[in-house]
C-alpha cells in the first residue's frame, strides 16, 4: 500500500514535488497545536531556566542581575552571621530524599496491588474485561482533590476507620493517621494505582497462556511459572507502570498538602513555598528544574530499559 492512496487530499506523494507538498500541508495542519504547546507548555520551561540564574525581588519576582545563588541554595546554606560559613542545606536535602523515598514506596505499593489486579482482569472472559478495566479507570478520572479528600474521610480522627475501630472497641482514642507520612503514602497509592494497573494489563493481555501450560506440563511449580515465565514477559508493563506512577508521585503537590498537613512537606510543596511565602523565585525555579532533572533521569532509564533487546530471549 503506498502513500498515494493514503494521502487524504489524493496527492501523488511518490513524486518528490507532491511529497514536498504533502509535507508542507501536514506542517500547516499541525502548526496551531504546536504554537499553543510552545507558548503554554514547553516554551516557558526555558524562562524557568533563566529565572533560576537571577536575584530574587523583595516582594516576589526577580531582579535582573545574574546570580547563581538560586542553585547554590538548593544544596547549601550560608550562615546568617558569617557569609563564608557554608553548610549543606539539610532541610532541602531531607525533603528531596523524603520525596524520592515516598515516590518509590508508592511505586512499590501500587505494583504489589496492581499486579494481581491486572492479572485478575486479564484472565476474565474477553467480553467482561473492558468493564473491569473501566472500574479501575473511573476513580482515575475523578478530580484529584476529591479523591484525596475521600481518603481523608477514611483516615480522619472522626473518619471511617477510627469510627469502626472505636465502635468495635479496639481503640478508645482515635489513631492519628492524618497528617503523617503514612497518610501521604496511602493517598498517593490510591491516586496513582490505575496508572500501574493499565500498562500491566496491556502487557498481560498479549501473554500467550500456552507458555504457562507448557511450564506446568514440565512440572514447574506455580511460583516457578510466575517467576520464570510470567514476570519476564510482563516486564515492559511493569517498567511503564513504574514510570507512570513515579513521575507524578515525585512531583506530587495536592496529596501531601491535604494529607500531610503543613509539616510533612514534599518537593512540590517546597517549590510552591518559594513562590508564595518564601518569595524566592530563583530558588523555586532551581528546585523545579532539579525535579525536572530527576524526572528526565527516570525517563532515560525507562527508554534504555525498553530499547534493549530484552524480549528476544522469549521470542
Amino acid at each position: 500500500m503506498s502513500a498515494v492512496e493514503l494521502a487524504p487530499h489524493g496527492a501523488d506523494t511518490t513524486k518528490p514535488k507532491a511529497r514536498r507538498g504533502d509535507i508542507a500541508w501536514r506542517w500547516w495542519l499541525v502548526m496551531p497545536a504546536l504554537i499553543v504547546l510552545l507558548l503554554a507548555a514547553s516554551g516557558p520551561l526555558l524562562i524557568v531556566l533563566v529565572y533560576s540564574f537571577l536575584e530574587p525581588g523583595n516582594f516576589g519576582g526577580v531582579v535582573w542581575n545574574f546570580s547563581t545563588d538560586g542553585w547554590f541554595q538548593v544544596f547549601f546554606t550560608r550562615d546568617i552571621f558569617d557569609e563564608t560559613l557554608v553548610t549543606p542545606a539539610t532541610a532541602h536535602l531531607d525533603i528531596f530524599w523524603r520525596s524520592i523515598k515516598l515516590a518509590l514506596y508508592t511505586t512499590l505499593i501500587t505494583a504489589i496491588l496492581g499486579f494481581p489486579t491486572a492479572w485478575f482482569i486479564a484472565t476474565r472472559a474477553p467480553d467482561v474485561r473492558p468493564i473491569w478495566l473501566f472500574l479501575v479507570t473511573i476513580p482515575f478520572w475523578t478530580n484529584l482533590v476529591i479523591r484525596t479528600f475521600a481518603i481523608m474521610e477514611v483516615i480522619r480522627n472522626e473518619g471511617l476507620v477510627n469510627n469502626v475501630l472505636r465502635g468495635v472497641g479496639i481503640v478508645s482514642a482515635p489513631i492519628q493517621m492524618l497528617f503523617t507520612d503514612f497518610a501521604i503514602l496511602l493517598g498517593m497509592a490510591y491516586v496513582f494505582l490505575p496508572l500501574m494497573v493499565l500498562p500491566l494489563y496491556a502487557s498481560m493481555e498479549k501473554l500467550d497462556f500456552k507458555l504457562l501450560e507448557a511450564g506446568y506440563d514440565l512440572y514447574a511449580s506455580r511460583l516457578r511459572v510466575l517467576w520464570h515465565i510470567v514476570l519476564p514477559l510482563v516486564k515492559p508493563g511493569f517498567i511503564a507502570g513504574s514510570i507512570l506512577v513515579f513521575i507524578p508521585a515525585i512531583g506530587a503537590y495536592v496529596t501531601p498538602r491535604i494529607l500531610g498537613g503543613g509539616r510533612n512537606l514534599m518537593l512540590g510543596n517546597l517549590i510552591e513555598l518559594q513562590f508564595g511565602q518564601g518569595r524566592n523565585w530563583p530558588l523555586g525555579s532551581a528546585l523545579a528544574l532539579t525535579l525536572l532533572v530527576i524526572v528526565v533521569i527516570a525517563l532515560l532509564f525507562y527508554i534504555r530499559s525498553t530499547s534493549q533487546p530484552e524480549g528476544q530471549r522469549h521470542g
Partner: protein, 268 residues
C-alpha cells in the same frame, strides 16, 4: 488460544488481592458519597438521611461561581484542544513514512504528560506574570490557554487511535469518484472520525476539570475554579457540604467518562 484451562491462569491469592484493590478504590468514594447525605455536621455519628448539605452547596454563591468558571474554562479548553488535536492527528497519521520532524512533533504533543504538573505550573506562573505586567490583562484567557495546552495530548490520543483504525478505502473511493479533497474530507473522513473526536473532547473536558496544580499557580485573585476552591477549603473545618459538592462533581466526571468509554468501545 482456543479453550483455556482456568486453573492455568489462576494464581493463588491473586483474586483476593484484586478484590482488596477494588474495595480500596471504591471504599473512600462510597464513604464520601454516603456521608454527603448525613444530617449531622460531623462524620462522628450518623443522624439520618438528609439533603440539607446539597441545599447548602447549591445555594452557596461562591460554589456557584467557581463551578460555572470551571465549566466555562473546561468547555473552551476542551473545544480548542479538540480542534487543534484533530488537525494534528490528521497531519501525523496515514503516511507510510514519517515526515521530517514528525518525531519532534510527537515529543512536543506529549510533553505535558512527561513534565510534572508543578513544573509546568511554575513555568506558566513566571511567563504569565511577565505578560500580565506588560499588557495589564488579567482575564481568564491565561487559564484557558494553559488548560488547552495541557488537554491537547488527551484529545490527540483517542483521535489518532481512531484515524489509525479507520477504513480508508472509502476515502479513496470518494477520490476515485472525483470528489475534491475537501468534499472527501467533509463527507467521508469527518463523519467517520466523529466518535474519535467526541471521545477526545470528553477526555479533554474531564482533564481540564481535573487540572488543579496549574490553575492554583496561575490564577489571578478571584479566579478560583472548583478544585482550587476545594483545595483552599481543606484547611478549614470541613462540613458535609464538601461531600455534597464532591458528589455532584463526581457525577459530572462519571457521565463524561462513561460517554468516552462507550464511544471508544465501538469499532470503526
Amino acid at each position: 488460544m482456543g479453550k483455556r484451562n482456568f486453573s492455568i491462569a489462576a494464581l493463588p491469592g491473586f483474586a483476593t488481592i484484586a478484590m482488596i484493590t477494588f474495595v480500596f478504590l471504591y471504599l473512600p468514594i462510597v464513604t464520601l458519597v454516603v456521608y454527603s447525605f448525613n444530617e449531622a455536621a460531623s462524620m462522628a455519628r450518623w443522624e439520618g438521611f438528609s439533603l440539607r448539605w446539597y441545599e447548602a452547596a447549591l445555594n452557596n454563591r461562591q460554589v456557584q461561581d467557581v463551578s460555572i468558571r470551571s465549566l466555562v474554562i473546561a468547555a473552551w479548553a476542551a473545544s480548542l484542544a479538540t480542534i487543534l488535536a484533530t488537525m494534528a492527528a490528521l497531519a501525523t497519521t496515514r503516511n507510510e513514512r514519517r515526515f521530517p520532524g514528525q518525531t519532534m512533533v510527537y515529543a512536543l504533543i506529549n510533553q505535558p504528560l512527561m513534565v510534572p504538573e508543578i513544573v509546568t505550573g511554575v513555568a506558566l506562573l513566571i511567563f504569565f506574570a511577565m505578560i500580565k505586567v506588560s499588557t495589564g490583562y488579567q482575564g481568564l484567557a491565561y487559564l484557558v490557554a494553559a488548560h488547552t495546552a495541557f488537554c491537547i495530548p488527551f484529545a490527540y490520543l483517542p483521535i489518532r487511535a481512531r484515524l489509525e483504525t479507520m477504513d480508508l478505502t472509502l476515502e479513496r473511493a470518494a477520490a476515485d469518484l472525483y470528489a475534491t479533497p475537501w468534499q472527501a474530507f467533509r463527507h467521508v473522513t469527518l463523519p467517520l472520525l466523529v466518535p474519535g473526536v467526541i471521545a477526545g473532547f470528553m477526555l479533554a473536558f474531564v482533564t481540564s476539570l481535573d487540572t488543579v496544580v496549574i490553575t492554583e499557580f496561575i490564577k489571578s485573585a478571584g479566579q478560583d475554579t472548583l478544585p482550587t476552591y476545594m483545595l483552599g477549603q481543606m484547611r478549614r473545618v470541613i462540613t458535609p457540604e464538601m461531600n455534597a459538592i464532591s458528589t455532584l462533581f463526581l457525577l459530572l466526571s462519571l457521565i463524561a467518562v462513561t460517554v468516552f468509554f462507550l464511544l471508544s468501545r465501538k469499532k470503526a
